[in-house]
Amino acid sequence: MNEMIFEAKDLSRSFTVGHRVFGDLANRFMGDRPPTVLRAVDNVSLTLREGETLGVVGESGCGKSTLARMIAGILPVSSGERHFRGEPYDSLLARKRDALKIQMVFQDPLSSLNPRLRVGEIVGEAAVLHGLVPRSRVKEYVIDILARVGLPADSLGRYPHQFSGGQRQRIGIARSLAVKPDMLICDEAVAALDVSVQAQIINLLMDIRRDSGLAMIFISHDLSVIRHLCDRVAVMYLGRVVELAETEQLFASPAHPYTRMLLDGMPKISLERRKFMPIKGEIPSPLSPPSGCHFHPRCPIATENCRRTRPELREIASGQVHACLNVEAI
């Protein structure tokens, strides 16, 4: 098996909600109220091996984007450890050039690309700044990278708004590749694209992965995309990982009731008229998650115990890891 490239242990991230100044004033005059704390990510542990693609799937508010930002090193953690090739992030991020080994691609290329810079500058800037390529040779360097992502050389002098959504996403990918990363984090990178454009970008990512052996973390709400691209999948619900398994295993025999519900809700192209069953309940607010197992109010097999006990991740015979207290009872 390949070497470990990334390891996260008990990662957590909380946000204090509400206005700082007014909240402080209110506390001064009305006595101390505990501030509202949102636990976006709650004790998540993950590993990623060289060349592997790990999928993270979940619905709105499950913390997948917060997790992505922590892994990318652009958001500090509240607690927990992150290691890249065995080195803690604190010392890694202090050396700017090595920190470039971790790159991220975002969902909306228009808001993640500087509208005032030409494509040549967007893609080449970091590589020049960090001395990966001399300024005199940056043009050829950028043209080469643009070719890799399927953009013509004359894109160099144009601005992001002059491109279509799919092409802009290619620019975002080119910017990441320009600094020769070893790990790429894609946060909903194909969510905003049309089906045919989405297929082109997925194929591009697969080509890049094959050619450069890049390790990838692919964050998405779309199970069919995750299934297509990933070796392993982590399912998140309200800040916690509820199941982690090999992709094939997860889709063939999901263990956690939430994973089952997600798979059932996944639209498929078929001629069987699906009975759209009303699924119980809404996604609770992450501000006040249910006690015990967060999923218990919507869970078909919840018991009294699920209300009280926080389930820990545990491994079952198939090698799947899940956090359900009752799953053997099914």
């Binding site: 799919g166 049309d194 454009v197 297929a199 069919s224 299934r227 759209f276 009303p278």
Partner: protein
Amino acid sequence: MTEPFFQVDGLNTWFFTRQGVIKSVRDISFDLRRGEVLGIVGESGSGKSVTGMSIMGQIDEPGRIVSGSISLDGQELTALTFEEMRRFRGRKIAMVFQNPLMTLNPLMRVRDQMYEAISEHEDVSRRQMHDRCIEVLMAVGIPSPEERLNAYPHEMSGGMRQRVVIATALLLGPDMIIADEPTTALDVTIQAQIIYHIRRQIDERGLGMVWITHDLSTLSELADRIMVMYAGAMMEIGTTEDIIGVPRHPYTRKLLGSVPSRNTPGEKLRQIPGNMPSLLSLGKGCPFASRCERATEICGEPVPATQLSATHHIWCYHPFEE
């Protein structure tokens, strides 16, 4: 089968911009029966949303309906004045958009917005308005509707907001609803809930529905018939069985083939080469020809409709065999 109550015939909606004429919708024709869901599927720029806006009479300068007819129960909609069309909207045809936060007024309670929708068109007591609001809110599966009436849009989740929008669309008992990507922004489990309630309302109330989306998976499970659009033109229309089961148009096949769930995991997806042509520089022939592997010289000529069966029509010189 019942007779269609709604017809679009030869619709052309163009935008006259400084760069030139953008022919967003070209020669679109379809009809709709009560209790039926017609899905319009296409990618960005296919003209599917402009088709919906044309029906609602909401095409603004520099765009306009250049030719064609839109009729509901024999009444010609393109001939209506702005004021007449305003009376017509909501009462006869309602529309639901993708983003409920843009549809709902953030400063008004749900109650006031829904009351306003009724009082704009009818003169009824507050008691009656209240009962009608509760009835439609329950119809779309909103728990504790009394509380929701008092809420502001920001106090509800995305799925709840979209349900309020759909309930408001049902308020005046319209004959048809046009829904433009109504569940695209929602999570899958919430999407399944909403589709369940919508399908039930269509069946119970005998509504006609036009469901505009880029998502073939949802359509295959919900729609009775599907129309495929590309670069402003119709490619293929038929029952869901026709389009999903035996697609004959090369574009429909390519589109279905590029969906991840129709590919082997881990292998490259069957992608469509190239990009959609600019709507400013369309020829008279098939707009898909430049990306189509079956294209020949004749595809540069105007493409007539070919009837394949009582329900299945296609615009292509080189359709696939069954």
